[in-house]
């Protein structure tokens, strides 16, 4: 009965909150609120909750939404035609065929996984460093975060994304309408091509300002697609969106569609000179719209924007491969980056305060040489940095140690704030000793050595790096669009030159006899054992303490390296 009463009162409170009670019931509930503390608290909390809900910030406006919907509506008939291109009786066969292709691609990726893991284990990219230094524990992060525009162009032309610039390892994607897709890791010589830059492209095709804005938007969106297409977690497990195998062609097609006929010829020459594996043939070249065609830009961007966000990934783990559905919020990941970056300057300020305080604490009669505090700016290979030497007595060293503890507390606060977003900190033990903190960009390292030496390393350039904002660029592009959007009659045919031998090899294994399958399974088992052995070995490294050879030979000094 009490339960029913409680529900009834909650209902009355809810109605009262919305002004839906008649006078008599309103007076009753008001009296109850006045007399009963529990009911009063419930009412107040309901009101507070309503305010919280009402204060939700709306999403950023999507200026292209109406355009995309109208384009989809216009293309509806065409889509429906395509949907029934395969006779219904062949649908089960087609589905089976697609499934086989998917498995083939997955197995191909599996066979390549050792190279991927080797890359992740051995190379020193920023992401890898961040994972190793624990700050991103428990999170899934993009492997190709913030691909620059030149890299996007290179990706569009050759289908490769750089993994390790030193040994030329690239992630290569390829797609053919007839034989599915493939994603591979390679440093084959034919893939090591000279880098192509946007400026070279612009020099060749001489785009107008409107075309440049279109390209800006294309590259911006491509950067986002690439970012969300290859993911890695802190256990070095990789998730690849198979659809990445299409994006490079979409980018290239987008560029080509924006060009007028003269530019198109130059663009083809540009591709041919660089020996790209793709070329295109316009079936309606005599009807190519001019650069003043008002509908052209929006058609291109509408086509490009219809690329869906990835959902199905191929997930490569240490001991398995699977097709998995990942529902990732890339915006949350970007917000996370933003938070990390925004908090880093606080440490810089704090550290500077400490240094300044000790500068002020110098007694007037301090010996002239060597100075107690020396600040030496340096421009190293990793960016701008400062090195500060502080020479002090035992008392000050103890005080400084207290200050450092305060810094460490701030570090701990930062880590808690980071973990709030995903609430995963409990899953991973904190490193014990030495305390070792780093941002994902470069590093902030605080190291307390056993002999009371203190060292802080901060890369200032990386801290000050601004996060990426896209709205302005989108807005800029929108301004260049015209209100009327006639349908485009551009069609491109892709002629793929690269042979598909490797995929065929896997395919033949799949289609082969049981003996081949057994052979394949044996190979997989052997590879799995090798990986596990490698992993066990990697997890037990012996790390001796490493003294800083550059430290000045001072007695009982505390050294800050900033």
């Amino acid at each position: 009965m009490a339960y029913r009463n409680s529900r009834h009162i909650s209902l009355q409170l809810s109605l009262y909150l919305d002004g839906r009670l008649d006078d008599e019931k309103r007076r009753e509930i008001e009296k109850l609120i006045e007399d009963d503390e529990g009911i009063r608290r419930e009412f107040i909390q309901l009101k507070a909750m309503q305010s919280l809900l009402a204060s939700r910030e709306p999403l950023l406006e999507d200026p292209f939404l109406a355009e995309r919907v109208m384009n989809r509506i216009r293309d509806r008939a065409e889509d429906e035609d395509r949907a029934f291109a395969v006779p219904r009786r062949f649908v089960p066969v087609s589905a089976t065929f697609i499934a086989v292709l998917l498995i083939a691609a997955a197995l191909f990726a599996w066979l390549q996984r050792e190279q991927i893991f080797d890359y992740v284990e051995n190379t020193g990219t920023q992401m890898q460093q961040a994972y190793e230094e624990t700050i991103l524990k428990g999170w899934i992060m993009p492997l190709f975060e913030r691909t620059d525009r030149d890299q996007v162009l290179h990706f569009a032309m050759f289908g490769t994304l750089p993994l390790d610039t030193q040994d030329g390892t690239v992630l290569r994607v390829d797609e053919s309408a007839d034989s599915g897709y493939r994603v591979e890791l390679s440093n084959a010589p034919e893939l090591l091509r000279p880098r192509t830059s946007i400026s070279e492209l612009y020099e060749e095709i001489q785009p107008s300002s409107v075309q440049r804005r279109v390209f800006d938007s294309l590259f911006l969106y491509a950067q986002r697609q690439i970012e969300s297409s290859v993911l890695m977690n802190e256990e070095k497990e990789i998730a690849i969106d198979p659809a990445i195998s299409k994006y490079h062609k979409v980018i290239l097609s987008g560029i080509a569609s924006t060009l007028d006929s003269g530019q198109l010829v130059r663009f083809e020459q540009f591709l041919a000179q660089r020996n790209t594996p793709y070329t295109f043939v316009s079936t309606v070249s005599h009807r190519l719209p001019s650069r003043r065609d008002k509908g052209q830009a929006s058609d291109v961007i509408a086509h490009f924007r219809t690329v869906r966000m990835p959902e199905e990934y191929i997930v490569l783990t240490r001991d398995s491969i699977a097709q998995a559905r990942l529902r990732l919020d890339m915006d949350s990941l970007r917000r996370l980056m933003h938070i990390v970056e925004n908090h880093m300057p606080r440490f810089e300020v704090r550290i500077n305060e400490i240094a300044e305080r000790y500068t002020q604490m110098q007694p007037p009669a301090a010996p002239p040489a060597p100075p107690r505090v020396r600040v030496i700016p340096e421009d190293g290979a990793d960016g701008r940095s400062f090195r500060i030497f502080i020479q002090t007595d035992e008392k000050l060293a103890r005080e400084m140690e207290q200050e450092m503890k305060q810094v460490m507390r701030e570090v701990a606060i930062l880590r808690r704030e980071q973990s709030k977003l995903h609430h995963r900190e409990d899953r991973y033990p904190r490193p014990e000793n030495p305390p070792h903190i780093s941002s994902h960009r470069k590093d902030i390292q605080v190291f307390v050595a056993p002999d009371s030496g203190i060292q802080i390393t901060v890369n200032i350039d990386s801290i000050m790096e601004q996060s990426f904002h896209s709205l302005d660029e989108l807005q800029l592009f929108r301004d260049s669009l015209s209100p009327a959007v006639p349908g485009s009659d551009l069609r491109f045919e892709w002629r793929q030159i690269v042979p598909d031998a490797r995929l065929q090899q896997i395919d033949s294994l799949l289609r082969g006899s049981d003996r081949n399958r057994q052979q394949l399974n044996r190979q997989l088992q052997e590879l799995r054992e090798e990986i596990m052995e490698h992993y066990r070995h990697q997890n037990n490294p012996a790390k001796p303490a490493k003294p800083d050879p550059a430290a000045p030979p001072v007695d009982r000094d505390t050294v800050f390296e900033i």
Binding site: S10, L15, A48, L52, P58, L65, V69, D329, E417, H423
Partner: protein, 204 residues
């Protein structure tokens, strides 16, 4: 008045008073008379509201775009048969809610497997340690998570009322149920959400 005559009338009015923004009904009439641009104006008018409604229901930025597009395409197909029994936005909300319900049902049936789920399943000790408390600054995130915790039949009335500001009658129309059902579900949803937000609301 035939749709064509109505459209002519609207055209005259708009030409005479260009500053007047035609209402939904006039735009629908224009559209039914064959003016595609009228639909575009309706779309521009309501796109952001629908996006925010979808975001409230799913809290998934990857889904918003597709769902919003699907909703408007459904509306485009159904609009020729619109009979002006309800306001356009109520009708559009109903399409949105029904579409979101379909998606939620499909998601339930589908075996959702994420990388994180795989990882968590591999480490059974993790499950016991995942209880979390809200921290300063992430109240909105916590509220959104609370909304996602609500069963669909309670989540939708809370969103319609407290996020979208619909009246009880509009909610009954959108949810296609009785007024009494709206009241009880809204109250139940609020109570459940209040329980979830207890750590945040304790200070009140």
């Amino acid at each position: 008045m035939t749709p064509e005559a109505m459209a002519d009338h609207v055209e005259e009015q708009t030409a005479t008073h260009p500053a007047i923004d035609p209402g939904d009904d006039l735009l629908i009439t224009r559209f039914q008379a064959g003016d595609e641009d009228a639909f575009r104006r309706l779309l521009e008018r309501y796109a952001e509201r629908i996006r925010n409604l979808v975001f409230g229901i799913f809290h998934d930025t990857d889904l918003i775009d597709d769902i919003t597009q699907d909703v408007f395409i459904k509306a485009y197909r159904a609009l020729p048969g619109f009979r002006f029994d309800a306001s356009f936005y109520t009708w559009l909300y109903r399409i949105t809610i029904n579409h979101c319900r379909d998606i939620m049902r499909r998601q339930k049936r589908r075996n959702m497997l994420s990388l994180q789920t795989l990882l968590e399943n591999r480490d059974p000790e993790v499950t016991a340690k995942t209880a979390v408390q809200p921290q300063d600054g992430d109240t909105q995130e916590w509220v959104q998570r609370g909304l996602q915790k609500l069963p669909e039949k309670y989540r939708i009335p809370v969103i319609l009322k407290d996020l979208e500001g619909c009246s009880y009658e509009e909610m009954a129309d959108i949810m296609q149920c009785e007024l009494g059902t709206v009241k009880s579900r809204l109250s139940r949803g609020r109570s459940m959400l209040r329980s979830w937000l207890a750590p945040i609301l304790e200070g009140y």
